[in-house]
Amino acid sequence: MTDKQKKKKAKKEVIITGFGGQGIIMAGRIIGMSAALGDHMHSVFTQSYGPESRGGACSAQVIISDAQIHYPYVMRPDILICMSQGGYDKFISEIKQEGILLIERDLVRPGALKRNFFSIPATRMAEDLGRKMMANIIMVGFCVSVTKVISKDAALDSVAKSVPKGTEEVNIRAFNKGYDYGLAILKGRGKKAAGQTGVTG
């Protein structure tokens, strides 16, 4: 039983969604790769295939576990990362009650959502760094600090291995921007929670 409980505890399912061209697939791959190679966990990465990878809605799935993963697809995400409204609308009903939702602030309007979420203007931040296409890397950094689903060292390694040669440095800067942004939010919420008892997140 303890084995099973441990297994359940250590399994995390992640969905990243957006539109083709945002680097959704690369973001998923980086998370899966970090878990497998850097953190020495089991991980499976799958992606939606077809015309959506060329402009339409697009999604990547990652399962991370300390035990062998049998069924390779996400049943209900523990972590949902939305970089487009379409992706948000499609997947928001699937996130677990206690799951963590991360959104691109300028591209997703959550409406009257009755749950906590974390938002970041990743695309604007990427534009400030001179490359809009790094929004995915900023989002990965944000995800790592907020959810700790993979270690920072493992993520940095995977980012450097995954991005085009010659852009490693600027992408690592992008990752750190997202990471620090997440830390600042957590810190702010911590203070808020300490000041106002009963309110968390």
Partner: protein
């Protein structure tokens, strides 16, 4: 030249793992025509093969692709191609030529939905019977089915080793999910990778007979240009390789083609059991559906249903004895596959009425969920 074996830990797709397995096995010729979901095998080998002294050719279509592979193999080079459903159909005639001429090679089919163009390019396992009987005439064939990127790496090596040992095309039937999913793949040191090469003829060249079987029932194979008398034909041929249009020669040739497989079943058939020892229900599955089945076994066990899994690693020749033995001890079988019952019917045949056999299948397009399997386990028994 780059090192041929990418020793280390990688996070790669099944397709790329297959390509790396081929190179590790000693494959130095690939002739192919790209088709999703097998394209990444072709793409990866186009980048890798020239760097290890190999040859990559994109042919004009799949018929030419398999033809180039057979030709390359006769020059003594380990050769392969990779395709999916529509391309696999085009390759059928020349796979038969490879069987008849006893030409070692590996053909990978990363299955997608059929018939015809189907549902591009979602997963299916609908080519299992085509792999067995798709080319005309009687024959034996070896077909393997991988469940993960790590397994397809090793299975590609095994496929080459078996094709070199038994001199025939060996088929790998993967599926879109295994082909496209990424997982950790550990590639060991070269010294831990066992590779087999076809046995070569010895003795006087003027007395050489191309198809005179060695002790294991398989004839040693020279390469074209080494000075041996070689005549390669798809016509019924005698041990010299010359056409001999008689019933007796056909009988003799077929005995050799089928005997070399039937007499080595122990070496060829590989299965894996999961929680099967005390199982009352035996799930039979393979490829990606076997991973659904592993989950289903655990879920069912938590509900008190004594299920176990026999995962087929070798699909053909079919593990008839294993199924028969299980039929004598279990209450029934459930075959889980992404088709309408191709392997299910084989299970039924081998069970021979000793235990009922049920199918959890559908015509492809999406993976089967563990809950679907568990529901059948609850309702059928």
């Amino acid at each position: 030249m780059k090192p041929a074996i990418n020793t280390g830990e990688h996070f790669i797709t099944g397709d790329v793992a297959c390509a790396e397995g081929a190179i590790a096995a000693g494959c130095r010729f690939f002739g192919g025509y790209p088709i999703t979901p097998a394209t990444e095998i072709t793409e990866h080998l186009s980048a890798r093969l020239p760097g290890v002294g190999g040859t990559f050719i994109q042919m004009e279509d799949e018929i030419a692709a398999i033809a180039s592979v057979l030709g390359a193999s006769w020059t003594g080079v380990k050769s392969m191609t990779a395709t999916s459903g529509p391309g696999f159909s085009l390759m059928m005639e020349n796979i038969g030529l490879g069987i008849c001429t006893e030409t070692p090679c590996v053909v990978v089919n990363v299955q997608r939905v059929g018939p015809s163009t189907g549902l591009p390019t979602q997963a299916a396992q609908g080519d299992m019977m085509q792999a067995r009987w798709g080319s005309h005439g009687d024959y034996e064939i070896i077909v393997l089915s991988p469940s993960s990127p790590q397994e397809i790496f090793y299975q590609t090596i095994t496929a080459f080793n078996m094709s070199e040992t038994y001199r025939l095309p060996v088929l790998i039937l993967a599926d879109e999910i295994v082909g496209h999913m990424s997982e950790k793949v550990i590639i060991p040191d070269a010294k831990h990778i066992k590779t087999v090469s076809r046995s070569r003829p010895k003795g006087r060249k003027d007395r050489f007979k191309l198809y005179e079987p060695g002790p294991n029932g398989v004839a040693p194979m020279p390469a074209i240009g080494e000075g041996y008398n070689i005549h390669v034909t798809g016509l019924t041929h005698d041990t010299k390789g010359y056409p001999a249009m008689t019933v007796d020669t056909q009988k003799e040739m077929m005995a050799r083609l089928t005997g070399k497989i039937q007499n080595n079943l122990k070496d060829i058939i590989k299965t894996e059991s999961y929680r099967l020892d005390d199982a009352e229900i035996a799930i039979i599955s393979y490829g990606i559906s076997a991973r659904t089945s592993l989950s289903a076994v655990d879920k069912a066990r938590r509900q008190g249903i004594k299920a176990g899994l026999l995962r087929l690693i070798t699909i053909w020749p079919f593990p008839e004895d294993q199924i028969l033995k299980l039929a004598e001890k279990v209450k029934g079988f459930v075959t889980v596959e992404m088709n309408l019952g191709q392997i299910h019917l084989e299970v039924k045949r081998c069970a021979g009425g000793r235990a009922p056999a049920f199918l959890v299948g559908h015509p492809g397009g999406t993976i089967i969920s563990p809950d679907t399997v568990v529901k059948v386990l609850q309702e059928a028994f």
